[in-house]
Assembly symmetry: C2
């Protein structure tokens, strides 16, 4: 078992990662103390897989339990579903000693976290992430959100969980698509923030592709540890430090938006986006920008080799191969979408770009033409 502390003063908490952690849900929830009831939120797919097991673990510790199951899929991150959850909490008589536990992937976590953040101005929130993406990404940082029809994650709150339990055996049950999507975030941490992780990934390609739960325990723990250091330094994304987590995201979000949300998984957008960002850094370095002088062909080849060995997409062409016809969009359209991204201030084009293996910078000054050139 690995335990990663997230240090946020009075909002500090621990992430426990182990094969079999699901059975420790009751122990972990009871240890929060002063719990009047647990409301377990899950989706239909995850509930079928692990609902009974987690529920038994909670009831075995003598805790009162209610279960709310929503439909799987991004559509559940809506105001309508949040509204229904608020009303159900009211019916159930949830009070300030109640804990909302989210069992599932990013959708369930974001939704349940937002409802926990806003019901009675904030209930405690406990996460049991069952996808790789949720284990390495949304389990650290306290971002919760729901979508409006025209914009993802636009309504939300920062609400730190009281604890996180990640069971790496659940990753065996993921579809190839969801597993690759999670790996997208994992390699992102390696390439842009931690060369040690990158080395670890290179050395463990076989164990990663066979989803070995012990190896994944180490990798998930490493990712949580990397992210928790950054979040501790910039909890609410104000200093710019937290923005460094967004390597691959400027291109990635524009791909997601251009192809229609849900057409490709988030991690796939980030993966292809991270290669595009590396190519952009290489181009800027070749044009004399000294920050990116180390990003040469050899650097890019090493990144591409890892992606290919892990079976990850590296180009729009690959996305086309995996998701039917090559997605239809144009470089011009992608650049327009980047300019309207909510992280863009006053319309500038911003990217997180690599400067060495495991190191990146926030580049706020990139000309749209350079981004266009890389996309062509």
């Amino acid at each position: 078992m690995q335990v990663i502390p997230v240090n946020l003063q009075e909002r500090s908490y621990e992430i426990e990662i182990s094969p079999g952690a699901l059975d420790r849900a009751g122990v972990a929830l009871a240890s929060l103390g002063d719990v009047s009831r647990v409301v377990l939120v899950s989706d239909d797919v995850v509930d079928n897989l692990y609902g009974v097991r987690v529920a038994e673990s909670i009831v075995d510790r003598g805790l009162d339990l209610d279960v709310i199951v929503v439909e799987h899929g991004e559509e559940s991150k809506s105001i309508e579903v949040a509204y229904s959850l608020w009303e159900q909490l009211l019916e159930l008589g949830a009070d300030r000693k109640s804990v909302i536990a989210a069992l599932g992937g990013g959708v369930v976590g974001d939704l349940a976290g937002f409802v926990a953040a806003t019901y009675a101005r904030g209930l405690r929130y406990f996460q049991i992430p069952t996808t790789l993406l949720a284990q390495v990404d949304s389990s650290v940082g306290g971002k919760t959100a729901i979508d409006l029809p025209k914009c993802k994650n636009i309504v939300g709150a920062f609400h730190q969980p009281s604890g996180v339990l990640a069971d790496t055996t659940t990753l065996q049950d993921l579809s190839a698509k969801d597993y690759v999507s999670g790996l997208g975030e994992v390699v992102k941490y390696g390439v842009s923030l931690d060369s040690e992780l990158f080395d670890m990934l290179e050395r463990n390609v076989d164990a990663i592709t066979s989803r070995d739960a012990q190896t994944l325990e180490k990798i998930v723990a490493k990712c949580c540890s990397i992210k928790s250091e950054i979040v501790a330094a910039d909890e609410r994304e104000t200093s710019g430090r937290r923005a460094l987590l967004n390597y691959g995201h400027t291109f990635g979000h524009s791909l997601e938006a251009a192809l229609g949300y849900g057409a490709i998984p988030h991690g796939h957008g980030v993966l292809v986006g991270s290669i595009l960002a590396a190519r952009l850094a290489q181009r800027l370095g070749a044009s004399g920008d000294a920050r990116f002088s180390a990003i040469d062909d050899a650097w890019l080849d090493r990144q591409l080799a890892l992606y290919r060995n892990l079976g990850l997409p590296t180009s729009l062409h690959d996305l086309g191969r995996d998701y039917g016809d090559a997605p239809e969009t144009t470089p011009q359209r992608l650049v327009e979408l980047m300019a309207s991204d909510k992280k863009t201030e006053f319309g500038k084009l911003n990217f997180i770009l690599p400067v060495a293996l495991g190191e990146c910078v926030y580049a706020k000054d990139v000309a749209a033409d350079d981004a266009l050139a890389v996309l062509r």
Copy 2:
């Protein structure tokens, strides 16, 4: 002009109180720095009174301004109206440098504050309260909320404003009912938390009833100062200190709920509730509870005299006089409602009760029979 600091570490802000403060909206908003646009949220009544004046003050400082007007009344504190505001912010292209400014009473403040707390995980929020209740109560503490059909304020967030501007000349425009409702909170601070304020109120009965803007500046400032000290010690209502602000609220909420929300204003419920709480303390003192030995007839008479001189209701009978027929409810029903109040933990009856002038305690151990006896 009086300036009251609210000390909450990096969430600290100032409340500026003066006759004519409305015209300083632009200056105050511009001084926040790095403001891409101001979205002014108001209701139709308040917008008619002050909208143009405040808008001009903002535009005069060179700030981009959008105005959103909602219907006046508690009905606007709904998910539907919040949803519409989120969508309008998206349409307007609000970004993290946008500021939401609330011009109006508690409904507008609670609604706009909640939308600011949750849009893009938190925009800055600026308050321009135009009712006495909003100036002395919701301008300090960062509570924001909307209602569900079956429960007031149940969906919300703590979100501190970046600044508050209170213009005491706007109090001239309040209906008698709204003014009395605000005075309910004011005398609550005096009776339960600050004998100096109580003295000040006794000495200024005429200026208060004629709504003298200079006198009200001092009184509003005093109330904000009392509340800000308590909020600074217990920002998120966890230590119990902040609960001391709720003198009169246990009885008050049950009156509001029993008579139907909106049938009597919040402050009227608190006023009558605060007399009932004083009578309960007197009863407990007479039965030998040493904490309340100082709450005798003389104490109660002084409180009642101030209320009557200010024209405030002191009993259910008075509420009946002011709001048509005597409201129909029963002591039994009121006690039942108290037991289901969301502030009640595990079903105990909790009250804030006076122990001396300007001093109160949190009593968690009151028998329902004693509350019943006082209501009979």
